[in-house]
Symmetry: C3
Subunit: 138 residues, 3 copies
């Protein structure tokens, strides 16, 4: 059995971190799939999917780490060539990766208590961001 759905939301960009755990859980519920794999993938090349303990101070720590790794103010060939100033966004996105998988066991997503599914939108402007959630199982 395959069940897929797109989710959409607004972000502020600049590695804005959005907790999508509830939306993914809703899609699981709607699917009725009791055992399988959920693939969560971002559409676009300036955002990432991962998990985190979603609480405000850690969200800021994560953004600070990303600023250290690839600064908003970095000089990039991409920004120079295309004039869109988001070279850092692309680099952060490719480094962290566009997708994760989460198991479903006995109708529940297998995650820790303090582990939320997040999208990090690295782009340098507010975006309407789209994520595709695909479930394979039975």
């Amino acid at each position: 059995m395959i069940f897929g759905k797109e989710i959409q939301f607004q972000t502020k960009g600049f590695s804005d971190i959005v907790n999508i755990s509830d939306q993914v859980r809703d899609i699981r519920n709607e699917s009725g799939i009791t055992n399988g794999i959920i693939s969560i993938s971002v559409i676009g090349s300036t955002a990432s999917v991962t998990t985190i303990e979603y609480e405000p101070s850690l969200v800021e720590d994560m953004q600070e780490l990303l600023e250290k790794l690839a600064s908003v103010n970095m000089v990039s060939r991409h920004s120079k060539t295309w004039g869109d100033d988001n070279g850092f966004s692309h680099l952060r996105a490719s480094l962290m990766g566009p997708s994760i998988t989460v198991p479903i066991n006995k109708s529940k997503m297998v995650l820790g208590t303090w582990q939320q599914i997040i999208v990090i939108d690295h782009d340098n402007r507010p975006r309407n961001r789209k994520i595709f959630v695909q479930i394979v199982g039975d």
Copy 2:
């Protein structure tokens, strides 16, 4: 066909690197699935899954790189707020990601000779760590 199993083991924390290739292979054998995808996911927000050539000197190099990226001694808002001193653990975990997928082809995991499946436990104390291995295939 879906086959899933949790594996558990003790870690020392501080980006302790554990080779779980044999356990994952055993679960594949037990499943009898000949072609498909294995999803290997960590339960919790302070550990990661990836692959590496698992040999002692590279294990130390990896730990040194993680120390460079997000030091045990870093000042983090998370540690200050919650007093648990493991901000660096969360950052390392979210950066590296909680899951990978490995294909199964003709009853074998498709991996290189020097490529082992590892869990890196970034937490700042010994842990009883749980991993969920979910196989989808036929």
Copy 3:
């Protein structure tokens, strides 16, 4: 339904970035699978899979970031022990991860317009690199 295929190509190493989107799309077409998940995994411990806007200036920016994170000239225990000088290759590969998943919806891979599937070969020499593409769906 399961459909899998290996793809092979030559790389230059040193984080050479190869766009494999067309090959993955061809495998999807050949499979006839209309809805499901594609798992794209590298065979070996010195390469990674991710997505990027594949254009020459960003490719160079990405290589520069990787050089900053784990330099070709770094001193590594792995290189010292084994004499193969590719400690940095292993570290880049494990940090970025060996696999991603891409959904298939209505016979199409769900990706952004500027989002290509890439392999980064971090090894320190030209390689004949192998990738396994496994599709699960119906």
